[in-house]
Symmetry: C2
Subunit: 506 residues, 2 copies
């Protein structure tokens, strides 16, 4: 270590002179850097990243990739040229989720207006906890949430953007328990009877994670049967409610799913709402995936009854392609439940003697303090496309899914897991050696090995990416997700032909 | 509503033809749009947004701003020209947190390399839950966390980036309780004795919010006294631990703070670690604000003892200016506690029959599912600046804070709340009419009204932004935060002169 007083003298000198780092304060250099970076982004991430003639990913084994990336953080900084080269490398070896052959997740595509909104968000670098430092975004979030609520069917209510659907679902759990037992915020769960919540076996795993995180424990989650298509069985729900009560638990919430993760199933919301009403339970709808269907006049009947919910989680970063993350928790409540449940009135942030209406300081509605701005990307995309433009995207995704289903039926070696009602199309590719051998005792075991092998081949080739999973007693099958609004029939045809090519020797 | 079958026919036609929305699939148009947007960002957010000769904010009353922004989301989309104009308007009325006169929060400035990393992150739009879809970021997060842990003093351990320090702190609470009572994940808190955790009255409000959210209840938070400077009193901590035990509670965690929000105080970590060791308590350090001081060889002694912690929350988006959000939760644990505590092994995402090492699928360590990529911005900035460059920034912030303190002492009408040990400088501006009247009975009440009035004036003028708050029995005072690395003495001088100008008639 250097001698204290010498160092101090140096530092004082430094503070009196210009800052030394080349870019700091030199706005020309900053602009030049960002222009260069932007050029690389346009070239690598946008032009190549969305071109069907480029790879969707450039697979490297972890050890090799570590070398290529030269990740170690050093004492000394690097030259501008090195930094630009690093930007290029990072993009090159990243998976292109905007590529027309990326079918791996519930998000895909690259909406240019949403991206514009996201880049602006990053350059403004603020947190929407107070009107003072985020006036535009506080008002914009309010307006966007109002619009989403209107699509649910509510002309009043509350809401907030959360860092992902899992946390939105946790909010619902916390609000429901607070509404029933307001003392819980102060005195905790120990003073309460055992609580029970209900969701189907097809629900997202965040319901269980949330129950554990919130101190309820995963045992408090009562798993309700789902039918063949993955929809919650309301009769079994009623049975489970009675059973929980008989065991001395207090039922407090049902979490229905609109658009399950694997099968894309929509729970029967009206029937569930009836039960919630009868038993006085909070009715939450996890519409993280399926919520965007509310924009389609043709298909929104899949969510009939959602207007009866107490809370809805909806992720426009999925089917609407707003960009990670954009997850809204919507509430029917008009009693300021969010703020009462989560507020703590920090005096350094939420001063009550401000010169504007402090009701606009929405930060005390959340359990976070600083929070990312997640409304602009959705707002800007919506302004550019209009509700009708977004509706067309949803409808087109349904149409293309139907096209895929029909093609699967026509082709040898493809088998549907079931007729889909959403844009998840689940199917097996049955390779030549297994065709017509369904009765063979090792059929299921051998079929299970097909998807992992094809996945490895497609990723190493870089031709496409599609997810697979087992499901109950069903062997590994592919889950195709039609979400990217730029997809055409040609991309669907490619998917099927490519699976045939990759699996012809199996 | 249109007739179903006509609509369906239209839609099938649509799916067979090219997508209709002008930009979708037209890569030239996409590039042109993004180039235009980028030009606006450089012009409005970067050039003007960081120029001392421009306003730090353009204040509008909420009602007027709503009109100016024309927020409503419509059925039809807008022209490219309208969209570009909207981008300009959004930036224009947003607060410029990168401006050299923005002193309002614990973050400020606009690091160009961090911004470059953030824009790349947005264009790649992925989630770091699996190596499969985020190979670069899974490895990069691992490396960045390793580096942060090394600065804490650990050569092994674990960690994850969280959406903000509040959630990092909640993770610590949840991990500590799980480590002590692993059954809690399944059976919840009801089966446990009442738990107690300890933190000082100067801690961040997220500790209480977290206790409520996790079902512990705010009563489980035992508030430990702090001394005049805001540091936790270890003797009172010991007393509180005994008291809690005497009341039948089980102490399980102490949350110390390195860099409190208002006063910038550093708790005595070694003394607290001794107590945690003696009583077998999880030792968490909330270093969200002060953690970056670990980079300074001159000042890191403020965090002496942090290597004895079980967990550390550190937000590089604050003093290092990495951009919202960048919050690391670091763990000394090497027993895979994170994954055991939070994991749920979702079979559709974390398949075990993948062709690569599934230990790289880190998504099951967190309570979120999809998660924003928060490592690249920090990594790229670090690569560009080097550890020494970042250290200089920290040291310079300390030097400038000292300069401010000396200036405050020299000027009439300014009074320090206390000698700071960090870059929070808390002081009163005493206007002419109150000078020399400290003995007057209404002095405190009148002094309390000064900061809100000056805040209103500076915001409406757009000249600067600085936070204020009351604190205990102390009247409203200003909290200056020296964090923006481009600040110079001239900016500090401006702050003081501007307060004099704004308050000369009071």
């Amino acid at each position: 270590m250097r001698h204290g007083s010498t160092l101090l003298a140096d530092l004082i000198l430094m503070a009196t002179s210009q800052p030394r780092t080349a870019l700091n304060g030199d706005s020309m250099a900053v602009e030049a850097l960002l222009q260069d970076v932007f050029g690389i982004i346009v070239d690598e991430a946008i032009r190549k990243g969305t071109s069907a003639s480029e790879k969707v990913c450039e697979w490297k084994e972890p050890e090799e990739l570590r070398q290529l990336l030269d990740l170690e953080l050093q004492s000394q900084g690097e030259s501008q040229e090195q930094i630009l080269e690093r930007c290029r490398t990072v993009i090159h070896y990243s998976v292109k989720t905007g590529h027309p052959r990326f079918f791996n997740q519930l998000f895909s595509g690259l909406d240019p207006h949403a991206l514009a909104g996201r880049i602006i968000t990053e350059s403004l670098n603020t947190s929407p906890y107070t009107y003072e430092i985020a006036p535009v975004f506080v008002l914009m979030e309010e307006e966007v949430l109002k619009k989403l609520r209107a699509l649910v069917g509510w002309n009043s209510g509350d809401g907030v953007f959360c860092p992902g659907g899992s946390i939105s679902n946790m909010y619902a759990l916390n609000l429901a328990r607070y509404q029933r037992y307001p003392d819980c915020k102060q005195s905790g769960l120990r003073a309460l009877p055992p609580l029970a919540l209900f969701t189907s076996k097809e629900c997202h795993y965040s319901v269980s994670k949330g129950a554990a995180f919130l101190g309820l424990g995963t045992d408090s989650v009562r798993v309700v049967k789902a039918d063949e298509r993955g929809k919650m069985d309301p009769e079994d729900l009623e049975r489970q409610i009675s059973l929980a009560e008989a065991e001395g638990s207090v039922p407090f919430l049902v979490s229905a799913t609109s658009g399950t993760t694997v099968l894309g199933a929509f729970d029967p919301l009206d029937a569930i709402a009836d039960l919630c009403q009868r038993h006085g339970l909070w009715f939450h709808v996890d519409a993280a995936w399926g919520g965007s269907v509310l924009l389609s006049r043709t298909h929104r009947h899949l969510l009939d009854g959602i207007q009866r919910a107490d809370s809805v989680a909806w992720n426009p970063h999925k089917l609407l392609g707003a960009g990670l993350q954009c997850s809204a928790l919507l509430l029917r409540d008009t009693s300021n439940l969010l703020r009462r449940c989560h507020g703590s009135q920090a005096s350094y942030l939420f001063q009550q003697d401000k010169f504007y209406d402090v009701a606009l300081d929405t930060g005390d509605k959340v359990v976070q303090c600083g929070r990312h701005v997640d409304c602009l990307k959705l707002w800007l995309m919506w302004k550019a496309q209009g509700e009708r433009g977004l509706e067309q995207r949803i409808d087109q995704a349904f149409v293309l899914s139907r096209y895929l289903v029909e093609e699967i039926k026509k082709r040898e070696g493809f088998e549907l897991v079931m007729e889909p009602e959403f844009v998840n199309v689940c199917f097996w590719f049955v390779p030549p050696s297994l065709r017509g051998r369904k009765e063979s005792p090792d059929y299921t075991e051998r079929l299970s090995q097909v998807a992992p092998v094809l996945k490895e081949r497609m990723v190493k080739k870089g031709s496409m990416m599609i997810g697979y999973q087992p499901h109950g007693t069903r062997a590994n099958f592919f889950r195709m997700v039609v979400a990217n609004p730029t997809l055409t029939r040609a991309d669907i045809d490619f998917l099927l032909c490519e699976l045939e090519r990759l699996g012809q020797d199996l």
